[in-house]
């Protein structure tokens, strides 16, 4: 049986990807950010999953112009890194695990999630920057990746509650997959940031730290945070944190926090990162 063994959350700032790709990881500005990921890079060597279910938001790269799905799943055999305006990131092609993806999709629809399957798309920094942060600069990614995309940008966006339920449903779906697979669930995005208007540059360290404090063992405090509250407290793009909730819900009750990291800033954003192992 497939089982979810661990969860990772991390910000996915594009500038972090650029810093990796241009060898700036030891620069004065970037070194303290990358230090926060030393643990996970070591940890993942002995905790390499077969498949990562990677929850992120597309930033008008594959979606948002002609198609705006609430929840979408990448359903191609492979995904290239998107050209977001400065060329494709020099990172490996991402390969899907289609059998697990199809199973999860079927179970999610049976559980009344109205997901959209995307049969061809590129994947942007929301997916590739976390892969780089965890696996480093590699010839090929050491695992398969099932991309799940959440609309966090164009209102109406899904609520925290809905995201939590989606995470629970992902957990149930993975558990009923007959093949023996080590699955991790990652949630990317956040923490507080706002990329528009005269309020640009907003950071709410208190909100962010409380979020990290509660996520492992008291997530029930975080589930009811409304869309509006995310915007008010964490900025228009801080609402990406709802994807951390999906990750957390997919892990079930018992988790052990192996790492937490928080740092301001990377470009316009507060960087947060946690690693949880499941106890079930």
């Amino acid at each position: 049986m497939a089982r979810i063994t661990a969860g990772i959350a991390t910000s996915h700032v594009p500038a972090i990807g650029a810093a990796i790709d241009h060898g700036k990881q030891r620069d004065l500005y970037w070194a303290p950010v990358f230090q926060g990921y030393e643990f996970v890079k070591e940890w993942v060597k002995s905790n390499t999953p077969d498949v990562v279910i990677l929850i992120y938001n597309d930033h008008a790269s594959a979606l948002m112009l002609d198609i705006v799905p609430t929840f979408a799943m990448g359903f191609a055999e492979e995904f290239l890194p998107a050209d977001e305006g400065w060329g494709r990131r020099p990172v490996p092609t991402v390969y899907n695990h289609l059998d697990l993806a199809a199973h999860v999709a079927e179970q999610l629809v049976i559980d009344e999630f109205d997901i959209t399957l995307i049969n061809e798309m590129d994947v942007d920094h929301g997916l590739t920057v976390p892969l780089s942060l965890v696996f480093g600069q590699v010839e090929e990614w050491p695992c398969k990746v099932i991309p799940i995309i959440v609309n966090v940008t164009q209102f109406p966006t899904p609520s925290g509650e809905r995201c939590w339920k989606l995470g629970e449903a992902i957990r149930n779906a993975v558990k009923t997959f007959p093949e023996d697979l080590n699955v991790q669930v990652w949630g990317t995005g956040g923490m507080s940031h706002q990329l528009q208007g005269t309020r640009a540059g907003l950071i709410n360290e208190e909100f962010d730290r409380r979020f990290i404090d509660l996520l492992a063992h008291e997530p029930e405090e975080l589930i009811p945070i409304t869309r509006l509250e995310y915007l008010r407290e964490a900025g228009t793009e801080g609402i990406e944190l709802i994807m951390w909730l999906i990750m957390r819900a997919a892990l079930g009750y018992g988790v052990e926090e192996k790492k937490r990291f928080y740092r301001v800033p990377a470009s316009n954003t507060a960087v947060g990162h946690v690693v949880y192992e499941t106890k079930s």
Binding site: G85, P156, L202, L228, R232, E233, T236, P265
Partner: protein, 134 residues
Amino acid sequence: MPRTRLYSLDELDDIPGTKVFRARASREAYHLHKFCMSLMKPENREAFKADERGYIDRYRMSDEQKAAVAARDLSKLIELGGNMYFLVKIASTDGWSAQKAVSSMSGMSAEEYAQMMLDGGRSPEGLRSKREGN
């Protein structure tokens, strides 16, 4: 049977210095966004750089949107229905960092903005709600 909603959608307009990107308004920026996404191809970026005006005119944007693109006035483009995830592709084509692009809307210089971020970013104090002033 009046419905209990999680929040009033009008409250989305209550956040200072912020325009929440909503489905209805996105229609006003459809062709602007189509233009932005075209810049995801290197050959289109080249064509745009070689002849900005000619390239812009291929897209059915409003005159106001075209002028704001030409002026790189991101604040104006957001007012005209745009969303930053599309607009940033113009900035990337220009070789701007995301930080520089964002700072251009912030009411401060790129340097002031960068320093503010190094100092921990902009505090949410007083910027949560127009109505509450908190």
